[in-house]
Symmetry: C3
């Protein structure tokens, strides 16, 4: 129950982030729909393909497509309001990666993957939809910008496996890890934290 | 028998459309072959991966590769004639999406997907090869241009399920739906029909 | 044993080639890691997905990820030395396609594919990682440059099936075919051999 709710919330967050990018590029109605779908299902599709969980989940369960459709209609209608919230795209994208990281890790555990591979799967689930959204909209993918992005997913995912070692319910560890991903990303952007430079300085 | 024939005809149409785009970009022989293959098998590959129908169909059945090879040789030899038919690329691409839409829907039904997912699968089968062709050739994908493209596949696919409700043989419904996709796309381009504008006019 | 060794050596070669391209583009640490991973596992992932060998091999066996990680650390530390070897990228890429061509063919045989499909699978295994590396780094993919690249994989792969007809051990044929791919690519670049022109000369 908790896991399905998180999955649907992530779908909503990514669908809205897709609509916001697509409308900024002034795509037509179909283009907006496509970008919203790709953003919301891209990560889960890659995840399901890699672990051989086919037909991929959104083809078997209409909940996803219905949710995306409703989110798109809602986002288009309220687009002008969302536009005034200048950070809304960043926020929805950040919530999306937090939720999807844990959805991917959960699926990895179900497929008996090792913790390291679960974290990798969670990170790909979280990041791939946004990367595809940005490539299709001709933007530099967020993941390659000088910010902590996938790193937040990796650290959040790792925190889940560490938290599981404590005597707390698994659902607490699950929700805390989502929180860790979101907070890390927010703090990284707020304080301009990025990865260390591996190049020698050239003056 | 009918379904295989339609599948092979779609393969020929898309292979030729791939050759035409690749030659316009003056790629070398290998590049032309690759683009023709990717255009012809891209949609079916995505379809087979999504529903878990692996090894993907063209790896199990040499008919596809042989067909594409013959179509490419034919298209290169007669390229100068095809060039004079200025609309030949558009025509082969349109025939291709009509045929592949129904091939995809048929595979979706075999995988017990719901009608909505079958139409989505048919549309992806039809559109993905052409999108990949255009990305590799550095063209704006046809699907994102201001024309009805995927919409024709969706409406044609939906018409199939409506026609199945009538007391006619399934093969009639199948062929009529292909016809619907092709005619919708031809009419949309001829009369410049596109999707409604979702943006408020800015003067 | 031989096959695993070849697979790991190919992984090392491609991971290093990924690091070299990514550092030339001055990506940050995470970007370098991602490009190295994608280059090293891209071909094998496509191969496993196409034949339905899921979860894909690098998710089930930590050897790959560990190997790539060590190769990346090594390559970053010694990057300044590798930089002076101006042809090092070309060399690692060429060794990589030689090794991966045969890894792919072996997996195709295990999946009972016909020889032609095995060669196609080997060529895709060899080429896809490099193509993805170049697209992500915004370079024209090597495969589309005016050189023999995939053709070397195809000819080397075909030579394997011809060599199997001779009364020699399969492992000899296997190693010779790798050698054929590498030598063909080296000779093609050294002597500027490319595919025949299919366009009529325009003066």
């Amino acid at each position: 129950m908790l896991y399905q709710t998180i999955d649907i919330l992530g779908t909503v967050a990514f669908a809205i982030s897709g609509v916001l990018v697509a409308m900024e590029k002034r795509l037509d109605l179909f283009g907006v729909l496509i970008i919203a779908f790709v953003t919301a299902i891209g990560g889960g599709t890659l995840r399901d393909l890699l672990i051989g969980n086919t037909p991929v989940v959104w083809m078997r369960d209409l909940t996803y497509v219905t949710t995306i459709f409703i989110a798109v209609v809602f986002a288009i209608i309220f687009a002008s309001q969302l536009k005034y919230l200048r950070k809304s795209l960043f926020l929805f994208d950040t919530i999306g990666i937090g939720l999807y990281t844990m959805v991917g890790i959960e699926k990895g555990l179900q497929a008996n993957l090792s913790p390291i591979m679960c974290v990798a799967l969670g990170t790909m689930t979280a990041c791939f939809g946004g990367v595809t959204r940005d490539i299709l909209c001709n933007e530099i993918p967020v993941i390659f910008r000088k910010e902590i992005y996938a790193t937040a997913c990796i650290l959040g995912g790792a925190s889940y496996f560490l938290l599981l070692l404590l005597p707390i319910p698994a659902s607490y560890a699950y929700l805390t890890a989502i929180f860790v991903v979101i907070v890390l990303r927010l703090l990284a952007v707020k304080f301009g934290i990025s990865l260390p430079n591996i190049y020698k300085k050239t003056s």
